[in-house]
């Protein structure tokens, strides 16, 4: 088991964007099961820009893109096990390279636990290809066909951005 403190030693995400609470099962280089507790106290349920006509949160359904982010952070833990990356400034930035075949099959609501299952499809240079799903109280809420996680030094990302601008 990896608790919240242990997760913070592996990935650089912090409040309010640390969306994985506990790792309950891990086979390094292979697979992982992580848990995230959804709570009504999360900022997205109260942010002005999230209020109004947004159907997804009208009933406090967890925003789908954050469900995906939470799953991806679980994937980030799996990918970072043998090379911890707690601080982006001295370490690397976890970036999305891309994804395909992501399906939202249901919604999670406050009080539910999300069980993220992540499987490593293959390690690539500076990253990994992963797949899996998330299960909540109502059943499977997310299927992830394929996500490419890229780990790149912050310095190079910043320099590239400055050059491009």
């Amino acid at each position: 088991m990896i608790d919240a403190a242990g997760i913070k030693e592996l990935i650089p995400h912090r409040y309010p964007m640390l969306l994985v609470d506990r790792v309950v099962e891990v086979v390094p280089g292979e697979s992982l099961v992580a848990v995230k507790a959804v709570t009504a106290n999360e900022p997205w349920f109260d942010a002005p820009w999230y209020s109004g006509a947004v159907v997804d949160v009208a009933d406090h359904a967890y925003p789908p893109v954050l469900l995906l982010e939470s799953w991806c952070q679980a994937a980030g833990v799996l990918v970072s096990l043998d090379s911890p990356n707690p601080d982006v400034q001295t370490g690397r930035v976890t970036l999305f390279g891309g994804l395909r075949d992501v399906r939202f099959l249901g919604r999670a609501r406050p009080g539910e636990l999300l069980w993220h299952r992540v499987r490593l499809v293959r390690a690539v240079s500076d990253g990994a290809v992963v797949e899996g799903e998330s299960v909540a109280g109502s059943g499977t809420v997310l299927q992830v066909g394929r996500v490419v996680v890229a780990l790149r030094p912050a310095v190079s990302v910043r320099e590239e951005a400055v050059d491009a601008r």
């Binding site: 409040y15 789908p64 999305f96 390279g97 399906r103 919604r107 109502s138």
Partner: protein, 118 residues
């Protein structure tokens, strides 16, 4: 076409990441989602539509505080045989001249049983 200014004071940037704020990729997907939803009003009227999938997303260029993200989205009706089956919404997100991401989202009408009828 919609525009979103990434405000440096946006609270979520404090945690993504400390000392190195970068607009999360999923937030770019959210930009596409909101643009698509606005565009879909013309097709679906008052009937609520639901995001049921992301067919593809590719992130080509990092987005930082102060950037303005322009999202251009189109709506393509999807048919399964004779049956109407929601929409596919390809989106291009740009910062200035740079292509930051391309995203293809999938929507259906909100079903009483919840998302993912098929």
């Amino acid at each position: 076409m919609t525009a979103v200014l990434v405000d440096a004071a946006e609270p979520l940037l404090a945690g993504h990441f400390p000392g190195f704020a970068i607009f999360p990729g999923v937030c770019l997907i959210e930009c596409a989602h909101r643009a698509a939803r606005t565009a879909l009003v013309r097709y679906a009227g008052d009937d609520p539509v639901e995001l049921v999938g992301i067919e593809v997303a590719r992130f080509l260029y990092p987005v930082f505080p102060g950037d303005r993200v322009d999202t251009e989205v189109t709506v393509e009706p999807v048919h399964r045989g004779e049956v109407e089956d929601g929409w596919r919404c390809p989106a291009r997100l740009t910062v200035g001249d740079q292509l930051a991401a391309i995203v293809r989202l999938r929507y259906t009408y909100l079903s009483k049983e919840g998302v993912g009828r098929d």
